[in-house]
Amino acid sequence: MTPNIAPAEPRQTPGLAPIPPVATRPIVEVKSVSKTYAGGVEALSGISLDFPEGRLTTLLGPSGCGKTTLLKIIAGLIPASGGQVFVDGREVKGPGPERAFVFQDFALMPWASVIRNVAFGLELRGIAHGEREAIAERHIARVGLKGFERKYPHELSGGMRQRVGLARALAVDAKVVLMDEPFSAVDEQTRRKFQEELLELVANEGKSFIFVTHSIEEAVYVSDRIALLSRRPSRVSAIIEPKIVRGGDPEKIRRDSAYLDVVEDIWQQLKHYLD
C-alpha cells in the first residue's frame, strides 16, 4: 500500500513565473480523506488539500472524478470513509453554521416565495420573522433580484433561480461558501455574467469560496487556486495558482495571455484522462 499522498507542490507552468503559495492560513484542511461507496466504488483515495482563507479555490477534474463527493464531505453532508476535514480548526462531524452550500440544481422550495427561500437558513435557526426578512431583502437586492421578493421559483429564469440559491447561502453569513457546479445549469451569457460577479463577491465579501466545476475556462477565470483532481479514485494531481491580474475590465482577463496559457496548460494535463 502506498501511503497517503501529500498535497502536490505548486507547479511551475509554462508562460508563468514560479508561483509563491498563497500566504494566508488555511480555513479548510482536508487530511488524507478517502471515500468508498457501498458497493465498493472508490471515489476518493487519500486526498489532502488546503483551502486558503478569503480566496476562491476550485476543484477541477473530469466528469465523475469525485469533485462533488469531496465538496459534500467538506459540507458534512456525506461522511468520509477515512481521513479528517477541519474547518476553521474544528473537525467536521456534520453540517455547520460556518459553511453554506450552493446547489447545482438550485434546490429551491417551489412552494415558497423568493424571500422565504432566501430566509430559509435563518428560519431554521429560529430568527424572528421580521428580522430574517430584513436580512433576506438585503441579500436579494445584493444579487440583483430586488422587486422579485414575492415571486415564486417557477416564475424565474434558471439564472435568477441560482441567484436565489446564492442569496440564501450569503444570508446565513457563513465563513465558507461551498458551490457545487453552480453555473452549469444556466445559459452561457448568464454564466459569464455570474463569473464576473463571483470575482466581485470574492474580492468584497471576505469569505472563502470552494468551487466545483468541470469547465477549465471557468476555473481559471474565477480561481485563486485550482486543485486538479485525477480520475476515480481521485487524487490531487496538481495545484495551480493562476496569477492573473484582476480588477479593471473583466473582459480583459479572457484575452490575457497568462489566462490563456494556464487554460492551455491545464488542458494538456487533463487530456490524457480522456479515452
Binding site: K72, A75, G76, L77, P95, G96, P97, R99, A100, F101, F103, D105, A107, M109, P110, W111, A112, S113, F120, G121, E123, L124, R125, R150, K151, Y152, P153, H154, E155, R168, V172
Partner: protein
C-alpha cells in the same frame, strides 16, 4: 424594417371579427359546455330509440329528478348516505395520511404495514362486503368499514410514495442549513409531498363514493342506494336514473371542492 417590427405589425392586419369568433369557439369554457351538450344529446337520442325500455331519456330523467327533489326524497336520502360516507372518509383520510407519512419516514414500518394496503389496492374489495356484513351486521358500522376499505389503500400508498419522493437535493439543502429532523419533516418533506398526497385524497374520495353506494346496494338499502333500488323495483326508471345522476354530480362537485381547498390552502405558488 427590422424583423421585430414585422412581427409586431402582422397581428394588426388580421380581420378582427374572424379572430373574435375563432377565439370564442376554442375558449375552454365553450369547449367544456360543448362536451357536456354532446353527451346529453347522445343520452337523449339513445333514450328515444329506445335502447331499452328501462333506459329513460335525459329529459324524462330531469323530470324524475324534479319529482324526487320536490317531494324531499332526494334530500333525506342524501342525509342518510352522507352519514357513513363522512365518518368513513374522515377515518380514511386521517388514519391513511398518518400511516402513509409514518411509513414514508420509517422504513421498517413500511415493511410491516404496506403489504396489507398493496394487496388491498389490487384486490376486488367489494367481494369482502358479505364478510363485513357477517362480522359487523347490517348497521352503520359495516357501511363505514366498506367506505374505509375502498378509500384507504390509495390514500395510504399515495402518501407513502409522496413522502419517499421528496427531492434528494431539498433534503440535502435542509440538512446543510442545519434543519433538525422535525423541521425537515414540517418545513420540507410534508410541503413537498402535499401535491401527491392530495392526488391520493381525490382518488380516495372517489373510491369512498363507490364504497358507500356499494354498501347501500349490497348490505341494506338506505339513502341514495334505497332510492335507486326502490325505483328499480317499481320500474320508475326516470327516478332511478335521477338518483344515480345526483350522486355522480355530487361526487364530482365534492372532489372539485377538495381541489379548490388544496390550491387555496397548500399551493400558494399555483396562484401566483
Amino acid at each position: 424594417m427590422q424583423i421585430s417590427d414585422l412581427a409586431s405589425a402582422l397581428p394588426a392586419r388580421r380581420e378582427p371579427p374572424a379572430s373574435y369568433w375563432r377565439d370564442a369557439l376554442i375558449h375552454p369554457l365553450v369547449l367544456r359546455l360543448v362536451s357536456f351538450a354532446a353527451v346529453l344529446a347522445l343520452w337523449e337520442y339513445a333514450g328515444r330509440i329506445p335502447l331499452s325500455p328501462a333506459f329513460p331519456t335525459f329529459l324524462e330523467t330531469m323530470g324524475g329528478l324534479g319529482a324526487i327533489i320536490a317531494d324531499g326524497t332526494l334530500y333525506k336520502a342524501f342525509l342518510i348516505t352522507l352519514h357513513p360516507l363522512v365518518i368513513g372518509l374522515a377515518v380514511s383520510v386521517l388514519l391513511g395520511v398518518a400511516l402513509g407519512v409514518l411509513m414514508g419516514l420509517h422504513e421498517p414500518s413500511e415493511w410491516l404495514i404496506a403489504p396489507v394496503f398493496v394487496i388491498a389496492q389490487a384486490a376486488p374489495l367489494a367481494a369482502l362486503i358479505p364478510i363485513l356484513t357477517f362480522a359487523y351486521g347490517i348497521g352503520l358500522t359495516a357501511k363505514i368499514m366498506t367506505v374505509c376499505i375502498m378509500a384507504m389503500p390509495v390514500i395510504v400508498l399515495n402518501t407513502l410514495g409522496a413522502v419517499r419522493n421528496t427531492p434528494k437535493s431539498l433534503l440535502e439543502m435542509s440538512r446543510s442549513f442545519l434543519a433538525s429532523r422535525s423541521q425537515s419533516i414540517r418545513l420540507v418533506i410534508l410541503p413537498a409531498a402535499s401535491p401527491m398526497i392530495f392526488a391520493g385524497l381525490r382518488l380516495g374520495c372517489a373510491a369512498a363514493f363507490i364504497g358507500v353506494i356499494l354498501a347501500e346496494l349490497l348490505i341494506t338499502p338506505t339513502g341514495i342506494g334505497d332510492v335507486i333500488s326502490y325505483n328499480q323495483s317499481v320500474a320508475d326508471y326516470p327516478k332511478m336514473y335521477a338518483a344515480i345522476l345526483a350522486i355522480i354530480v355530487f361526487s364530482v362537485l365534492f372532489i372539485e371542492l377538495l381541489e379548490r381547498i388544496e390550491l387555496t390552502l397548500f399551493r400558494p405558488e399555483s396562484r401566483a
